[in-house]
Subunit: 201 residues, 2 copies
């Protein structure tokens, strides 16, 4: 395999997680998505719920929210949520470098394309699709309320975009940042898996 590391950015509901998992299975390599939450939790002692909520989403929130989780961050003063988020980004970045060094893998989200930008053995993927496909998928697979699905998906993507653009100083979802981008609604999940495996080999 020419590309050892495959990073996958994705719109909420586009099937990026599923596609990444199937790519990893087909190529026989490791898969990291929510696994990273547990690993960051183990390093920082922060609650996994907090890491999941802030590890790749910009959230409006208060210090009380953080303290509510009983969070403690090694060496961090709990002066503001953003400084905590910055430090979490650093821990997460170090972890992503360690993972990439350790083994061939698929890494979903968390600005991994940017964090590993110096590596030449990397394929950067972005998965997107039209809203009807994302709604149908989110209702079917994740039990979202059909009436609220669109606004939930849009809100999550705004937070993801904000987080990505803030930490990478670039523009989430612009073709120029990725090796390959795919419309999963138009192409279908199996075809996306096939194309990514073909591109990586």
């Amino acid at each position: 395999m020419e590309k050892r590391i495959i990073t996958i950015g994705r719109e909420c509901g586009s099937g990026g997680h599923t596609i990444g998992k199937l790519v990893a299975e087909r190529l026989g390599i490791a898969f990291y998505d929510k696994e990273i939450v547990e690993m960051v939790a183990a390093k920082t002692k922060l609650a996994p719920e907090f890491i999941a909520a802030h590890g790749e989403y910009f959230q409006s929130g208060s210090l009380g929210h953080i303290i509510g989780y009983g969070g403690r961050f090694a060496g961090a003063s709990l002066r503001s949520q953003s400084s905590l988020q910055d430090q979490m980004f650093i821990v997460q970045s170090d972890l992503i470098h360690e993972i990439a060094e350790k083994e061939p893998c698929v890494i979903v989200g968390r600005c991994a394309d940017y964090i590993l930008q110096e590596r030449r053995d990397k394929l950067d993927v972005f998965i997107h699709s039209a809203m009807p496909f994302k709604i149908e998928r989110s209702v079917r697979e994740h039990g979202l309320d059909p009436e609220k699905a669109e606004s939930i998906l849009k809100k999550r993507d705004r937070a993801r975009r904000h987080h990505y653009n803030f930490y990478t100083h670039s523009d989430w979802g612009r073709a120029e940042h990725y090796s390959i981008t795919l419309d999963s609604g138009l192409l279908g999940v199996p075809k996306c898996v096939e194309l990514i495996c073909c591109a990586a080999q």
Copy 2:
């Protein structure tokens, strides 16, 4: 073949023309790029040079420039370059609809993805790459002066972007507008051809 029509948007120097031609050859379908210039010229009696310069580039210029070509546009008053450009866009759009109706094909540039947006039998591709690849390719294949290549490529892409964004009210090069986008510098031309053929079938 599931997708009869393949549209290819591309950055200058990224090899989009070559990739499109090879895709058409491999799939045994028609190929339209500069061919469209001649067809628009035949319909409008405008000089091919003018159509090539304005058919997918926003140009700063004067009416004198148009009259200098001895141009005549059916039914058009030569009051301004932009109104002429608008009418040329309409003629070009009608032609692209005719071509798509007539036969399976690859169409390069000219907002074909947007013009044919109602069709379901269409794959929209965007080809891009990093500047060093585009410079090297443009110097080798098109004889551009190595000292001036970067500024020439950037200027052409600005004009293409402006033209596309003006007529489509969207954002040239954003993943969400395309079925698949590919980094030709990272993947190489043969792999791009393979991926597009795979996505179309």
